[in-house]
């Protein structure tokens, strides 16, 4: 399983954190991985994005320019990166924030109202982990055990009280679309 993932959204939506979860999960499965954030002023209230590569062989460029999977958490991200996705790739959209539909018909599109689903369950601000749950369901990019462990490793020690909430948000994503 090789996956080049591009996560994009507003600063504060947990874009970089979600990328870290994917990276840790891949690493625990024994894969080569890389994680590269956008940095600088564009992160302050603007768009944040994060490239994650999960691969069986050593990773060349950590910058994902042709993603297999795009997770778009806001409209500017969808508009900016839709055309970059590889043919037969996957685009996941937070449809509670983005009204537009994916225009291409050579990719698979998944619409998930992650922000609303998270808020409805008292997990405001955890739309990113709802998306992560659905990503796992759609792509099987790692083993179940590594996915859970990846989340544990990504939540800092001083914020362990948030672990259960993260796991609950992931469950929402896993159960969505049924």
């Amino acid at each position: 399983m090789n996956m080049n993932l591009l996560l994009a959204g507003f600063g504060g939506q947990g874009i970089l954190f979600t990328g870290k979860v994917v990276a840790y999960a891949g690493m625990l499965d024994g894969k080569e991985i890389s994680w590269l954030p956008s940095y600088g002023p564009e992160m302050r209230g603007g768009t944040a994005n994060c490239s994650v590569c999960v691969s069986d062989s050593p990773i060349g460029s950590p910058l994902v320019t042709a993603p297999d999977v795009l997770i778009a958490m806001n409209l500017p991200s969808l508009e900016k990166f839709e055309s970059a996705v590889v043919p037969n790739g996957l685009i996941m959209v937070d449809s509670s924030i983005v009204d537009e539909k994916v225009k291409r018909n050579d990719v698979r599109a998944v619409y998930l109202p992650a922000t609303r689903l998270a808020a409805d369950s008292g997990l405001k601000g955890m739309a990113n982990m709802v998306m992560a749950g659905r990503l796992y369901k759609e792509t099987d990019f790692c083993s179940d055990a590594s996915f859970k462990e990846g989340i544990k490793k990504s939540v800092p020690a001083r914020k362990q009280e948030l672990l259960d909430k993260n796991l609950a948000a992931v469950e929402i994503g896993l159960k969505s679309g049924e």
């Binding site: 870290k20 990276a23 840790y24 690493m27 991985i33 890389s34 994680w35 590269l36 954030p37 940095y39 600088g40 002023p41 050593p58 990773i59 060349g60 460029s61 950590p62 910058l63 320019t65 490793k153």
Partner: protein, 353 residues
């Protein structure tokens, strides 16, 4: 075996320096290097070290000079515009035969340039880090793990040869996370520094650390001796990694982040039946001249790939000396070349061979 953890390049550099026994860090914040200083500010107090944010880059590098003269392992870090400010101090360090580690997490220039990754400080690092005749050891990691390993080498070789050493990184390597192993067993010992100005206790002659030599014949003799040392280093310390070069007709030469991209392009070219390979310099000074020279046996042409308008390509041309064509492909200003772009260059060359 310690477990694998995910670490940013900048944090790995900082942690590796602590593991190598560095307890004195002097810096000044600048993107995309800031995580290194931030990590030091958290960790140094916990290991009994000094983290000091100076009032400027010039102050920081001179604090490194003072600390090194006093006999401790010291370092500073910055990004391109900040390294220019430190260049006076680098020259004084070299002129005083002092070891120190300087990290440059390169961003685009000239001037304030931009904050995205770049490799446009190659000439500065290898040719003109400051005024006067001098060299620094220059290491170019291309993975986060290699950053950790090279920090230890930069410190110990700097001590062995009594000269400053630079890690030439860039914003891409500094900001990215990869799995790394912090192998504690590789912890290096800080050697004795009998030349340090740390107090003679009336038991020996006093030491002098100085770069001022008013008498020209005396200064010329000192410089000649220093350049003899540089020749020994050139003989002994050249390092590079070769990838699929055994039968390579088109030999790419790239370091750091560009080498990662070139490696992907080499694999893609091989899939199309083109005999491509990669020489990745790990030391930029001393430059791996021997490896490039001996590769001329199979190479029909060389392609240098950089995130600049073409700097390291000069060194390749000096070695190849007109015996083979040397092409260049680069992106600059914070743009990162893609493997597809590099593959396209390889194909163009293949058609022309």
């Amino acid at each position: 075996m310690p477990e694998k953890v995910l670490m940013k390049g900048n944090e790995a550099l900082a942690e590796a320096a602590i593991m190598a026994g560095c307890r004195h860090f002097f810096g000044y914040p600048i993107t995309p290097q800031t995580e290194l200083a931030a990590h030091m500010s958290k960790r140094m107090p916990k290991v009994g070290g000094v983290y000091l944010q100076a009032e400027s880059e010039v102050a920081a590098v001179n604090m490194v000079l003072g600390a090194s003269a006093a006999g401790v392992r010291a370092m500073t870090s910055s990004s391109s515009p900040g390294i220019s400010l430190k260049s006076e101090g680098l020259s004084y360090l070299a002129g005083s035969d002092l070891p120190a580690l300087i990290v440059n997490v390169q961003r685009a220039g000239p001037g304030l340039g931009g904050i995205q990754p770049s490799q446009a400080d190659y000439w500065q690092a290898t040719r003109a880090s400051g005024h006067g005749d001098f060299k620094m050891l220059v290491f170019a990691p291309s993975t986060v793990q290699e950053m950790i390993d090279l920090v230890a080498d930069a410190f110990s070789l700097g001590d062995e040869y009594r000269m400053p050493a630079m890690i030439l990184s860039d914003g891409l390597l500094g900001q990215m996370m990869e799995p790394v192993v912090m192998d504690d067993t590789k912890r290096t010992e800080v050697p004795e520094r009998p030349w340090a100005v740390s107090g003679h206790g009336n038991k020996r002659e006093h030491n002098i650390v100085n770069s001022l030599y008013i008498d020209p014949p005396n200064l010329e003799a000192i410089l000649k001796e220093r350049y003899e040392k540089y020749e020994r280093i050139k003989e002994k310390e050249q390092r590079c990694e070769e990838y699929r070069t055994d039968d390579a007709e088109i030999v790419l030469v790239a370091y750091g982040a560009s080498a990662r991209i070139s490696r992907s392009a080499v694999d893609a070219a091989r899939k199309e039946g083109i005999k491509a390979g990669l020489i990745r310099p790990i030391t930029l000074w001393p430059y791996p001249e021997k490896a490039i020279s001996s590769r001329m046996a199979t190479a029909k042409a060389f392609l240098c790939v950089e995130m600049s308008t073409g700097q390291m390509v000069d060194d390749v041309r000096l070695i190849v000396n007109g015996k083979r064509p040397v092409s260049f492909y680069g992106r600059t200003g914070g743009m990162i070349p893609t493997p597809a772009e590099v593959l396209n260059e390889i194909k163009k060359m293949n058609g022309g061979i």
